[in-house]
């Protein structure tokens, strides 16, 4: 477990109409899930993408530093080597004109793995994420697989990249309840067995209750509260967390 912490310090993202995200600090630890919650438009997705400097044209990351065990790293070296990403609607995250095998080969080639070793690695990772029908999935294109399977394919790609950390941007909001539950089980299993450090961006307090160790609450581009998951559910300090919890109580009523 050589790398233990991945820190994000002082992230600031500016658009043409001023700052969208201001001095956000986050800390991810291996084997733990840090949830980043907030209403939609609070900038949580921007933070997730901004940390890896994956912002679309027109938005610029003016400040922000990534530290691996305290040592500063440029985002380009973190992407795909230290941290992987899982996106919201998986279907549009895959290149429509290339099949899953080519996506996998691409990622493995980056790690210097090719030929039979690559095929073995692919088989192993797909097994790990529960994609049993290996051959069909690898030959398939994005529009031929369900949302749940594609989501798990993303996890498989992260495993292939052997990145210690994983940033998940609302991975479950587009899935039906069953695939959502199966996806979260898989995530928890990877956290416990492989010591994966996960940043889980969501607005669903149920998911937070089930997986997260500690929580950061964002509102209007700023982090307004930082708590352990139990602390948050029992004593929500900021108004934003209270509104999120009230909405959750009405819907599901589950607590950690």
């Amino acid at each position: 477990m050589e790398h233990s912490t991945l820190e994000l310090q002082g992230l600031r993202i500016e658009g043409r109409a001023g700052a969208l995200v201001e001095d956000v600090d986050l800390q991810l630890r291996r084997g733990q899930v840090c949830a980043l919650v907030g209403s939609s438009g609070s900038g949580k997705s921007l933070t997730c993408l901004g940390s890896l400097d994956l912002l679309p044209a027109g938005l610029t990351r003016t400040h922000g530093q990534l530290l691996l065990d305290g040592q500063a790293l440029p985002a380009a070296q973190v992407r795909g080597r230290v941290a992987s990403l899982v996106l919201q609607n998986p279907r549009s995250a895959f290149n429509p004109v290339r099949n899953m095998a080519s996506h996998a080969q691409e990622t493995l080639k980056l790690r210097g793995i090719g030929g039979t070793a690559a095929r073995a690695r692919m088989a192993q990772c797909l097994e790990a994420v529960g994609l049993v029908d290996r051959e069909r999935v690898l030959q398939a294109f994005a529009f031929q697989l369900s949302g749940g399977m594609l989501q798990r394919m993303m996890i498989a790609l992260a495993l292939m990249a052997q990145t210690p950390f994983l940033l998940a941007d609302e991975p479950t909001s587009d899935l039906d309840a069953l695939s959502q539950a199966r996806f979260l089980d898989l995530l928890m299993e990877l956290v416990q067995q492989h010591g994966l450090g996960v940043l889980l961006v969501t607005h669903d307090m149920g998911v937070v209750a089930r997986c997260a160790d500690h929580v950061a609450v964002m509102d209007a581009g700023r982090i307004v509260e930082r708590q352990t998951v139990h602390g948050l559910f029992e004593r929500p300090a900021s108004t934003a967390s209270r509104t999120l919890l009230d909405a959750h109580q009405i819907l599901a009523g589950s607590t950690p």
């Binding site: 043409r16 969208l20 438009g41 921007l46 679309p56 938005l59 609607n89 279907r91 529009f143």
Partner: protein
Amino acid sequence: MSVVALLRRPALAGQNSLMIGLVLVSLLALLAVFGQWLAPHDPDLVDLGQRLLPPDSSHWLGTDHLGRDLLSRLIVGTQLSLGSVMLTLALVLLLGLLVGGVSGFLGGKVDLLLMRLCDMFMTFPTLVLAFFFVTLLGTGLSNVVIAIALSHWAWYARMVRGMVIAQRGREYVLASRLAGASRWARLRQHVLPNIAGPLLVLATMDIGHMMLHVSGLSFLGLGVTPPAAEWGVMINDAKEFIWTHPQLLLLPGLMIFFSVMAFNLLGDALRDRLDPTREVH
């Protein structure tokens, strides 16, 4: 995606190109509507004594081969040129979207037949089609508009069809299918906005293309009934004076250049405003 994000989202083509586009288009619209009153002289007044004059105090841009004031003919010509092109574009976009959309969306037999219909129309060079129309209905700009539209809509239909197929794979379309939205609603809400991009570009570039078709056809005498002023016809009339008085051809050419630029800048800016695929989650 919240409305705030939509507005704040950066105009990729840059704020100023939207401004220039809007200014030019409104200028052209102004010329088109108030042309007659803005023109300093009567555009159709033939005066052989004043023939082929260089720009001077009374004729700011000089006179054409029959002594008519060039500036007035350019201004008044806006109405016919732009009007006919807009009409043609509207016709072409309507047909293209309809046939292309239906064909791309439904696929199967319908797609096959509609595409063969497209092939039939695509094969008719505008010239041949225009000639048929003229022999049937006589000359005049309306027949030229129909002829150009009939031979151009197939372009758009194939483009739209290609994009609709590409978009159909997109997840939100499938998601809305799950939500039971009717096909037509799906087509309108999800698929069409996404094909606005390349379609807008094709339409704005086609403005110049179609105007030159009018000029091309007027060598057959098919254009606007003389002596009315229209840029395409002016270009064709100036053909004879290419070597001695190039400005007769340069000026209408410039007007077409500015029209294409205006609508293209506007098109680009609109596309970036409209284009949801660039949204940030």
